[in-house]
Symmetry: C2
Subunit: 150 residues, 2 copies
DNA sequence: ATAGCACCCGTACCTTGGTACGGAAGCAAG
DNA sequence: CTTGCTTCCGTACCAAGGTACGGGTGCTAT
């Protein structure tokens, strides 16, 4: 029972990991690994009709890559493209850089949109002393009138 | 043919609008109005077994309210709560103000998260001269190593 | 009176990123 | 050899916020 929760599968030493081993090593759930397979983000190992699949250690690295890219704001679709770029020896680093810059521009737009919301809310909140019934609330009134700012 | 695309339904003058009239006046699609009904965001008018429903003009104002609140970053669930507050004479303006402040804090957190992403991307992009194959790209390398910042 | 929108209704579908379920079968320990 | 954890596989479900469809009916103008 020494290794029961630690590593059930390592039957043949350096061969490969089972899906559970990959998931633990990469810090995601088994279902997430399966989900990434379905999305084509990770290559599926030879799929025996019966029995278990064994994954190469690169799969763990690939999932970590996905995790990190997600933290940087890339969607799974974009990550799939990054993974393709990474594999394609004909593509240059400039392509990757361009994706990063585009994502930064994307993030800037989101930040600006949120900033506009924030300012609009701050304006409304400052117009409201927080007293009286909701029927006289300047915030609600402003929303009812709708400024059609567009 | 003068009014054919302008207002098909106004049979009885001041009575009420059909769903299409509401949708046009509020600037949303008919399906969206139906969707808001299902979500309980707008009250459904008396529903005749057969024939058409007529909506009071307040429905248009309500949908505009929803639109405006959405622009301010509220979810439909939160908007439903705002609408309840608006209707409840026992609630005070302070409640509404609190929602607005909470939403601002919410937005601040999102902005900070995006700012972190942006800075991380900027760091990676500045480390990459945009030359060479993807196999030597500092951006991809950094993602592969995964900094586990957390 | 009939063409032709507009409306009614339930239901299915879309995107994004997973999570959960249920039955069958593998595999190691006790 | 049986128990019990994994794995395999398809499929369904979640949140959010709609959009689309199909079949049936209402209403209005020509």
């Amino acid at each position: 029972m020494e290794r029961s929760r630690k590593s059930p599968p390592p039957a043949t030493e350096g061969a490969g990991l089972t899906i559970g081993g990959v998931a633990r090593a990469a810090g995601v759930g088994v279902e997430t690994v399966r989900f990434y397979e379905r999305r084509g983000l990770i290559e599926q190992p030879e799929r025996p009709m019966f029995g278990r699949r064994t994954y190469p250690p690169e799969t763990v690295a690939r999932i970590r890559f996905i995790r990190r890219a997600k933290e940087l704001g890339f969607t799974l679709k974009e990550i799939a493209e990054l993974l393709e770029l990474r594999m394609d020896p004909g593509k240059s680093c400039a392509e990757v850089r361009a994706r990063a810059l585009a994502k930064m521009a994307d993030i800037d737009r989101k930040i600006e949109a949120l900033g506009r919301m924030r300012r609009a809310l701050a304006d409304l909140a400052s117009a409201c002393r927080g007293r009286g019934p909701t029927s006289e609330c300047p915030i609600l009134e402003a929303m009812e009138e709708g400024e059609e700012h567009e």
